[in-house]
């Protein structure tokens, strides 16, 4: 299990960094989707099946769609984007920083013998039961959030009555 996780973590990190550093928005979105998918793998390996499914479907699916539609709505030429934002140039420091921080963290952890350990035995519980029975507040929140999403689409994307 650990091996898969290590490999997935490496991919996850790489995809994330690529998403950040890529000078093309489209590529960024795709890298992000890939990162989501990798995350889904990790979640699955850890035993969070439901979460993994949702992650893969929603994050790497829905959000990518939203992105791509937003990107396509903004009709700027690719070269122009690069010239205007020059993200690649501005982001070069990121990998260096990440490596430094990563090494530092590992050294610190090793030096002080710090590591995370499981605090409790795994409890067998049904996700659905928990979600529906004990997370009512969250569900209300989710409903309302989705409601707001609808209203937001209604309010923000409609083209008529533009000015107050």
């Amino acid at each position: 299990m650990a091996t898969i996780i290590y490999i997935s973590l490496a991919f996850l990190l790489i995809f994330c960094v690529m998403a950040v550093m890529s000078h093309s928005l489209l590529k960024s979105a795709i890298y992000l989707a890939l990162a989501s998918a990798t995350l889904g793998v990790i979640l699955y390996v850890l035993g969070a099946y439901w979460a993994a499914v949702i992650e893969v479907s929603v994050c790497s699916g829905l959000i990518t769609v939203i992105f791509i539609s937003a990107i396509s709505l903004s009709k700027i030429k690719k070269e122009e984007v690069q010239k205007l934002y020059s993200d690649k140039k501005r982001m070069w420091f990121l990998p260096v920083m990440l490596i430094v921080v990563g090494v530092a963290l590992i050294v610190l952890a090793l030096a002080n013998d710090l590591s995370l350990t499981n605090t409790a035995e795994k409890v067998t519980e049904d996700f659905r039961e928990i979600f529906w029975n004990t997370r009512q507040a969250d569900i209300i929140g989710q409903i309302v959030t989705i409601l707001i999403g609808g209203i937001a689409v209604f309010v923000l994307f409609r083209d008529d009555e533009d000015k107050k």
């Binding site: 290590y6 973590l9 996850l12 994330c16 998403a19 950040v20 960024s28 992000l32 990162a35 989501s36 995350l39 990790i42 979640l43 850890l46 969070a48 099946y49 439901w50 979460a51 949702i54 992650e55 929603v58 829905l62 959000i63 939203i66 992105f67 937003a70 990107i71 709505l73 903004s74 700027i76 205007l84 934002y85 993200d87 501005r90 982001m91 420091f93 990121l94 920083m97 921080v101 990563g102 963290l105 590992i106 090793l110 590591s115 995370l116 605090t119 409790a120 035995e121 795994k122 409890v123 996700f127 928990i130 979600f131 004990t134 997370r135 959030t145 999403g149 937001a152 689409v153 994307f157």
Partner: protein, 102 residues
């Protein structure tokens, strides 16, 4: 000895750093939400990791699902606002947004 939980934690940290770095350094509005998403991925991972460690994986999944829903809605709203701004300014440069200052 480093176990995979610790490594996951560290990778999460690095992802959050990457996300924040992206948010601060980029000029493109959509890129900012990518930064946010990257950070959110890390947070999702943390939640599940926590669930794995304390044994309440079901609860952690409930958290994650809720968080993802919110994440999506935020992305939608963000995209809406961004497109509104694009209509006003003709591009998505965050540097335009200095009308409110001081």
């Amino acid at each position: 000895m480093l176990n995979f939980q610790t490594i996951m934690l560290f990778v999460g940290f690095l992802m959050i750093i990457a996300g924040c770095y992206c948010m601060i350094r980029t000029y493109h509005m959509l890129k900012i939400i990518i930064g946010i998403e990257v950070a959110m991925k890390a947070v999702t991972m943390f939640l599940i990791l926590a669930g794995y460690m304390n044994g309440h994986m079901g609860l952690a999944q409930a958290y994650v699902i809720t968080a993802i829903v919110i994440e999506v809605i935020v992305a939608v709203v963000f995209a809406g606002v961004t497109i509104g701004l694009y209509k006003k300014y003709g591009n998505m440069d965050i540097r335009n947004l200095t009308e409110l200052k001081g």
